[in-house]
């Protein structure tokens, strides 16, 4: 199964599940159509398009030799996963640690993960940049643009 077939299958499954959920939606007495009318059209067309993508990929692959793996450097998926992990942790930590603590920690963790410091000078750069960027964004948004950034339930900051 190729990339398109997997995409088609996932989208088809998701649209069918959502389509099933529209069945129980109650119709409003003032409207000629219920709240499920438009979602059913959208989800039906989406399911159809996904099915077509799946079918076309399966048909085009039949009788064709599997493509050779491309040589050369591949994508660094481990780094993508780590980056997602750090960003998710940051987002989840924001309400608990507050903007200042969580952002500082994030701005230290992320550059270190992306390009681990090889010497003390680089560590200092990372720490200084994290402190300056945190302070600058906090003051710019809280003091001058009146955006109340998240406060930490644990830290009170």
């Amino acid at each position: 199964m190729g990339r398109d077939a997997i995409t088609g299958l996932v989208v088809l499954a998701a649209s069918l599940v959502l389509l099933g959920l529209t069945v129980g939606l109650e119709r409003h007495p003032m409207l000629p159509v219920g709240p499920g009318f438009y979602p059913r059209i959208v989800l039906g067309v989406t399911a159809g398009a996904a099915l077509l993508l799946l079918a076309l990929d399966l048909v085009s692959r039949r009788g064709r030799a599997p493509a050779a793996r491309r040589s050369g450097p591949g994508a660094n998926y481990a780094l993508v996963a780590i980056t997602y992990g750090i960003f998710t942790a940051y987002v989840l930590a924001l309400p608990w640690l507050g903007f200042r603590v969580a952002t500082f920690a994030f701005l230290v963790a992320m550059p270190v993960a992306l390009e681990p410091p090889r010497d003390a000078r680089r560590w200092v750069t990372v720490l200084v940049l994290a402190a300056v960027a945190t302070a600058a964004t906090y003051y710019a948004f809280e003091r001058y643009l009146y955006v109340l950034l998240p406060r930490g339930t644990w830290t009170g900051l």
Binding site: H28, A49, A75, L114, L145
Partner: protein, 513 residues
Amino acid sequence: MYELLAAGIANVAQVKYLVPLMIGTVVGVVGGALPGVTITMTIIVALPFTFGLDPLQGLSAMIGIYVGGSAGGLVTATLLGIPGTPSSLTTTFDGFPMARKGEPGRALWLGIWASFFGGLLGGVFLIATTGPLAAFALRFGPWEYFALFVLALSMVAGLAEASLLKGLLAGMIGLVVTVLGTDPMMGAPRLTLGIEFLEGGIAFLPVLIGVFAFAQIMADVEKIGGARGAAQAVDATAKLTVSHLKLLGELVRRPFLLLWSSLIGVWIGVLPAVGGSAANMMAYDQAKKFSRRPEAFGKGTPEGIIAAESSNNANVGGSLVTIMAFGIPGDAVTAVMLGALTIHGIQSGPLFISQQPTLAYGIFAAYLIAHPLMVIVMAIFARFALKIVTVPKSMLFPVVLVLCVIGAYALGNTMANVYVLLAFGVLGYLMFKAGLPLAPFILGVILGDQIEVNLIRAIMTDPDPWLFVTRPISGGLLGASVASVAFALWQHRRSQARERARVDAAAPDTTDS
């Protein structure tokens, strides 16, 4: 119109508007010059800074970013051979060879002046057509709006670089996002999946931030540590000073090229959600086809630079037309502007220019003034560009992500929007990996509610479905949708046939052996 435009220029010439416009232009040029940072990402990062400004100040800053960013990409394209933005891709084809031949100043300034004139031609189109198009759109009922939005989606799907089917599927996934949450007619909850914050529906800006900024960063992160393109910059001490009169003469001697490339840029800009990269490539291709010396393209010909740069700046004017006349974003950047207008409680669309003339003509004025500002910024900035592009992405991306989080959070002072950003960042990245184009998806998210509202309104007014086809404008628009899909299919088949012919021609002849 002229009085309103003059008043708009006088208004924007005030310090309180000029400062955000200037800052926006500088930020745009820097963002445009940084490879891996798109104009969309730059404008998303700047979005939260505009919340505390008045609407025209905020929009001036955004227009500055848009105009500056469209031109900024050419700095790295000509001096480093790396397109700063996708819309300056073809600028590298001739800009960099010309710079390496010892004429970096000529390459750079030809691009800057082409951007300037292309942008101004786009401005003429913007000012001349927005009013009449908006007046025409006032004749639209729900049938016509429904048909117009369907046309927008089908055109985007058809013009997507991936297959038509993938474009359509991406657009449909965008529409699916809008059916989650509430019914826009009666506000009844539906398909909330048991998630409380979905009851209010999903705001499109966090989705846009997630899909365009976050997913784009992840796509760049996966390349970190891999083979890097060794950028062979031109000599850093090379002179960038040129005779501007001579360069302007080079441009004036090619009026057809400048005009045609700008028109292509404007036309691509008018098409919903098709960005400057398509304009850039199409104008370059056309310039090569019309040239008396097509063999000189790719070797440092001025025609290549003029076509590429005039088209991508003219594209900005075209993109602004659709948002101001119909309320349909021309691309992701104008989608963010649409969001900024909504935050300030302003509805864009056909009534915008008549109900908000000061703001509308202020936008025109900001667009016109942004171009000379861009030239000034480039004159000062170009020398430093080579240093700025060396900022490590490992330092830049985390700061961009923090600003994305603030942008999403500040939309309603709620973490729910940040969670939406996170979720759609993942979805955007997966779509990117699956080869599903993001432009139709985001247009689906933006237009989904409007499509539903107009469909239901039309049915409530008259349940006869044939009205969608029999009303002249609605029928015409739906016909154009079918034609655009048919054209995309035909084009796809033709390019497949050409590809097969190319492969057959390249294959060694084995019949004799």
